[in-house]
Amino acid sequence: MAEAHPVAFQWVIEAKKRGARVIHVDPRFTRTSANADRHIPIRAGTDIVLLGGVIRHVLDNELYFKEYVQAYTNASTIISEQYADPEDLDGLFSGYHADSGTYDNSAWAYAGDEDSIARGMPERDETLQHPRTVFQLLKRHYARYTPQMVQDTCGISPEDFEHLATSIAENSGREKTTMFAYALGWTQHQGGAQMIRTSGILQLLMGNMGRPGGGIMALRGHATIQGSTDIPTLYHILPGYLPMPKVGQDDFAEFTRAIGKKEQKGFWADADIYTVNLLKAWWGEHATAENDWGYHHLPKLTGAHGTYQTTMRMLEGGVDGFFLFGQNPAVGSANGRLQRLGMSHLEWMVVRDFYMIESATWWRDGPEIESGELTPEQIATEMFFLPAANHTEKAGSFTQTQRMVQWRDQAVEPPGDARSDLQFMYELGCRIREKLKDSTDPRDRAILELTWDYPVNEHGEPDAEAVLAEINGRHLSGEKAGQPLASFGEMKGDGSTLGGCWIYTGVYADGVNQARRRRPGQDQDETAAEWGWAWPANRRILYNRASADPQGRPWSERKKLVWWDEEAGSWTGHDIPDFPLTKRPDDPGDPSQGGVAALSGTDAFTMQSDGRGWLFAPTGMVDGPIPTHYESPESNIRNPLYAQQSNPTRVTFQDEDNLSSPGAMGAGGEVYPYVFTTYRITEHHTAGGMSRFLPYLAELQPEMYCEVSPELAAEVGLEPYGWATIISARSAIEAKVLITERMKPLQVGDQVVHQIGLPFHWGQGTEAIVRGDGANDLIGMNLDANTQIQNSKNNSCTLIPGRRPRGPERGELVESYRRRAGLIMSEDPAVDGAAGAPGAGPADGSVPHEVRGPEEASAVPSGERSMKEMKDR
């Protein structure tokens, strides 16, 4: 956090000065560790064992927050008899289909009749004693996650584990809260979503959700990476976490019912209304009840169409045109080589950026040009570089990592040909509509009927506030016609309102740009509710009903946030209550109505279909309802818990440049004996497009480096600040060597695990002030099935002293190691450890599969996206 989010770390330092305990768990000792009370080095990818160990610790020692767990979680819910745990099936949950590598999650359902489950009233045992209650299942599932198991898996000493577990236990409860902050160190694993889930379970058990100083804080890395998920430039969702329709979902009612049933509890019951408002915003007068509000204009998905699937499609010539909006995949995406080769198969490509990033120049100075493998004369891709306006040259909003939308005012006009992406997209749309205006082709109707008319200024720049107003939504008829919606509660499903992103409704309430509010923080309380605007409804802490006890009283004076005011007959507090304002704590709810009305006075988790925080997730995760530990596919350690070595749902792609080491499951694993993990450092920003071109940042960290322990340096023969070449099954890169005690070899069972740290900010090219080999070239396109996000944090490599060879010899070097590891076969290019290579195949019999598609909408808007297998591409 101190590394990548230094300004946010001021609050940690302040808390520490006041006596808070800060524990940093990371394979490396970083600038965060330097300022923590304790650094606990961990073997990459074993977080579920560590957190599972803590879960076991608090369950076995009854240290969890009993009243909270009882009232606000699904601990008492009974799970159907079909459910079988990995403890029973040696690493698999029930419902696994080996041929497709996927689960059927109906095997994890709540017990009870279908209607009761749909209404959020499954069978429960409030004593938590029933063996199939979630509580008992959890206990059983984590029973083997002992301190010894933690030591033997994570390389964490019992003392460190004790310190961590005790710290969490002592600092949770009525008077205190514990908070988890994480970033891509959890996300970028094959099974990363489950790591985050594990901390979710722990935080629910400890009563740390919905409370000040609690929660799980995702430290996100781009100015509006939150906003671009809420209002997504992502294939699988529509604005407001509504899913994109899948092939076969041709019935609009069925489509919205799959998102949220009218009879279920909470706010998702109105998913149909949110969808209508979105469609109304997009197709205006052309969206009518008769034509299902234009629903049939929406394209349909047939599986996953994530950025890595698209890369594979490019390589097969299936994509002609590619737009880059401030993104540098040649450096920033996994398997940089395939990224660049993919781009070389395009017909045309538009790069919108401030600088000549490597993704704009790969055709003239990329690694494949350097090696002689490609020459510009062979590359057909037509390149358009369009200079982009920066954040001072346009007005607009960013949504920061706590869901707060903040508006930026424009300071100056963009220079030369530079334009905002707003103007680019609007103008491109206008030109395309103009060119198609006489078309009678039915496929063009969706474009021609689109509402595409925004006011522009004298430079042709659309008014960003007008776009924000459309996102917010407005009344279309009635006495308020034309007025902005004040909250999504005002949305109607009859076409009398529109709104482009329901969770953002309210950001333009009263016709005022609420995101532009700037009442100084020093003039407000710590909530600072009048600075910017947080979705939903300017609420700063989600599920804050849980900050009060079931009777509506704050759990403690120190930790009070939201409470029931009996006199006023309303919820009140320092934040906007995340609960129907006048619903009494003892309200039993009206299950016959569904939706908000069905919530009882203690159903604090208002987005969940049963109003409870989910210790056990019957839906929403494709790889199991309870997180369980698997080793990374390239890990050289056998899974100490199960025969199932790796996550059976993991996704990969067949390509000779996307091979993996077999790790502990094959003889070739020892060719790549070391673990490498990638990360950001303070001085740079992701793929370097916004930092390596700036002299003041470039000088601070001018060269690509690797961090190794003195022990590993001695073993390999590395010189301090000399060069090393790192070789994975994908590529070989060179880096300066930082030998440091900040990297510590870990004793894991009888093996010593060496971990190598690689910042990923550098890329090969000629335009940036500082250049270097890109760590992402080493990483394969191997994805988590829940998120389709690659594993960057836990891969295997070997390390040799000296610089890497130039020219074609670089590829030959990689090749020679692949050969030694038995990864290269004569025909059938190997997948995940060389099918056919002697002993190289995964012994657990699981085969990673290629493509997945989205399932239903995730139950929680900000939660993990859910997908399930649809169809092979």
């Binding site: 300004v7 996100r220 781009h222 100015a223 509006t224 430039t233 992502l234 294939y235 994109m244 394209p299 698209t310 299936g318 994509v319 002609d320 045109g321 737009f323 909006f325 401030g326 993104q327 995406s333 017909e347 045309w348 000549m356 704009a360 057909a380 037509e382 358009f384 570089f385 954040h391 001072t392 909003s397 960013f398 706590q402 930026r408 300071a411 220079p415 992406d421 997209m425 103008e427 491109l428 749309g429 395309i432 060119k435 474009i447 776009v467 924000l468 996102i471 482009g500 953002y504 100084p520 020093q522 600072a528 001085e683 920003h685 992701t686 916004m690 930092s691 700036l694 940042l697 998120t787």
Partner: protein, 191 residues
Amino acid sequence: MAGMARITFLDWPVVRQLRGADPTGRGTSVTSARTRDTAPRTGSADGVADSICPYCAVGCGQRVFHKDGKVIQIEGNPDSPVSRGRLCPKGAASQQLANSYLRQTKVRYRRPYATEWEDLELDTAMDMIADRFIASRRKHWEDEDDQGRPLKRTMGIASLGGATIDNEENYLIKKFFTAAGAIQMENQARI
């Protein structure tokens, strides 16, 4: 000696040393006219715009000072309850992000198989991109799948990026691409 030519004898520091309260010549008697007129560069700004740092998602407040249509200084905004006026090295360098000598301000075009960039009018470029969008959309259009179920999409166009631009921009991209049936749009949230 440019400085000295302009000053009068009484301004000569030696004289000021003898006359004033600073006989050792280490303070008031040795200041130059320019020093006495010192003012912050931001004092002459045409204006200051409230902004947000463009790097990570902490969302630190920035104040952008500008003069003659150029950004001259970017500082933390002390009013922000998120950042309280502080910036990390990247945020502190964001003036350079705007003004780095490597900043591109002209459209560049590389035709197929060419070895170099060439110039192109922005208007021409936009028109060419629109034509290519339409053509690629048509070429890879999928009306229905092999079971005859509607798809109404094109696989010929993809986009990547969104996390570093604005919510409003994301909205327009999502809206138009979806209407055009181009489903393959992604951003850093997938990476």
